[in-house]
């Protein structure tokens, strides 16, 4: 049987699931806008995570039924959300005290580029005509203990997002711990990038070809 249409890589849900598995029970988590939001759908049974949204809510719940939407209860992406029993509201300075003070365990962010040192660029292409907008990204990468990036391995134009050195303006330097793409899970170590897991029908050469920095294999596969 010839498989011409064999599936390569993970879809967004599978990527989000990989991230979800790596977040310990009881963690306080900030999820960026976009694919990161999907992570909340894949928390393994028996784990309880608490979501913080930097615009002033700890204990963010699910998206509301439309007719229930409270116009003044939104997440950082300005979408309507809900609050769980046991939630708390606070003002912006208190919210970023929480973030900057190292109280959030995990932040999952999207990326435009990630360097092999874990530098992250996700707020601006640096183009002259672009309106710069940074939001809370720089505070999050500076303050949160563990930064996970979830992103497509390549840009829409087919260029690698994981590269030796970011060409876009940085959000933070040496901040990313692990990168979850549609092709692999890659850890950022002092010694370089290490491939922890590859998606179905992806092999190391295939992955390396699509990556703009040297990839390493763990000496012994981590279990």
């Amino acid at each position: 049987m010839i498989q011409t249409d064999k599936k390569i890589g993970w879809d967004r849900n599978e990527m989000a699931q990989k991230v979800a598995l790596d977040i310990p029970n009881g963690s306080y988590v900030n999820l960026g806008i976009g694919i990161p939001e999907l992570v909340a759908d894949f928390v393994p049974k028996g784990r309880e995570l608490i979501y913080q949204t930097e615009n002033g809510l700890l204990g963010m719940g699910k998206v509301p039924e439309n007719e229930m939407a409270d116009r003044e209860l939104v997440n950082a992406g300005k979408k309507y959300v809900t609050a769980i029993p046991g939630a708390a509201y606070f003002h912006h300075a208190d919210s970023f005290a929480m973030i900057r003070g190292g109280h959030i365990d995990v932040c999952v962010l999207g990326a435009m580029q990630v360097s092999e040192q874990g530098d992250l660029a996700n707020w601006s292409t640096g183009a002259k005509d672009a309106i710069p907008a940074v939001g809370g990204a720089m505070d999050l990468v500076a303050g949160v203990n563990r930064i996970f990036v979830i992103t497509q391995h390549l840009t829409k134009h087919g260029d690698p997002k994981i590269i030796e050195k970011c060409s876009y303006p940085l959000t933070g330097k040496q901040v990313v711990e692990s990168i979850y793409t549609n092709l692999a899970v890659i850890d950022v170590k002092e010694e370089g990038l290490f491939v922890r897991e590859m998606a179905p029908n992806v092999d190391f050469n295939y992955l390396q070809k699509r990556t703009g920095a040297k990839l390493n294999q763990y000496a012994q596969r981590q279990v």
Binding site: R71, V74, H92, A93, I131
Partner: protein, 236 residues
């Protein structure tokens, strides 16, 4: 008797002078004091520096204030949103100045302004273009950026409940920048949905103590900014 309640939005914004620095609460549409902003458009003060997280949506509220050419400069963290059309145009035309500040640094600078802290160090923005030209310092083996307090002449804020002393409660994530902006401005002007008698707000739950508020105006049924934007309404 202390009584900070004023009778109209026009009276509330009276005195906002040309060239003033005005903090405007809200995170997107949540907590945006749209009636006060519209009153400020009517009042007509020009050459304002506006400190606000965003730059407004559509052609109402903060976006309308900008569109009306009353704002010379904005200090904010996220000037473009899905529905922001006014700011990008003026920005590209070089008709409005932008000071881009990371959101947490913006919040902390405002909090510092209200707390009498002239400057502080933060790890945010280090090694990024937003730290360029700023002083940095190594403290306990880590490098930090020096940031200065922001103060304002006026703040326009939306809250849920208020009393004649200026004590305030907020609603959900509409709280956002309101409490700190009240502390950092000389004249904090607050629109509330409901005014109550002193003592009806439990002293344990007060979010903004009245000392930080100078004027309170009751707006029972504030317009729904999201709806106005959807309907492509404009002000005035």
């Amino acid at each position: 008797m202390i009584n900070k309640i004023v009778k109209s939005a026009a009276e509330a914004v009276n005195g906002i002078h040309d060239g003033a620095t005005v903090m405007i609460g809200g995170f997107g549409e949540a907590g945006s004091p749209i009636e006060l902003i519209h009153a400020l458009i009517d009042y007509g003060a020009k050459d304002l520096t506006v400190v606000s997280n965003n730059t407004g949506s559509g052609h109402v509220g903060l976006a309308a204030l900008i569109e009306n050419k009353q704002v010379a400069k904005t200090i904010c963290s996220f000037p473009r949103t899905a529905n922001s059309k006014v700011f990008p145009e003026l920005y590209h035309a070089g008709e409005i100045e932008l000071e881009l500040v990371p959101q947490g640094t913006l919040a902390e600078r405002i909090r510092a302004g209200g707390a009498g802290i002239p400057a502080f160090y933060t790890p945010a923005s280090l090694n990024t273009p937003l730290a360029e030209g700023k002083e940095s310092r190594v403290i306990k083996n880590q490098e930090y950026v020096l940031e200065y307090a922001i103060k304002a002449d006026f703040a326009l804020v939306k809250a849920e409940t208020g009393d004649r002393y200026g004590n305030l409660l907020y609603h959900a994530t509409a709280r956002n920048f309101g409490p700190i902006m009240c502390t950092a401005s000389k004249v904090a002007i607050v629109q509330v949905k409901k005014i109550v008698e002193p003592g009806q707000i439990d002293p344990e739950t007060v979010v903004t103590p009245g000392i930080f508020v100078q004027k309170v105006i009751e707006i029972n049924n504030p317009v729904d900014e999201s709806q106005l934007v959807e309907e492509e309404m404009s002000y005035p």
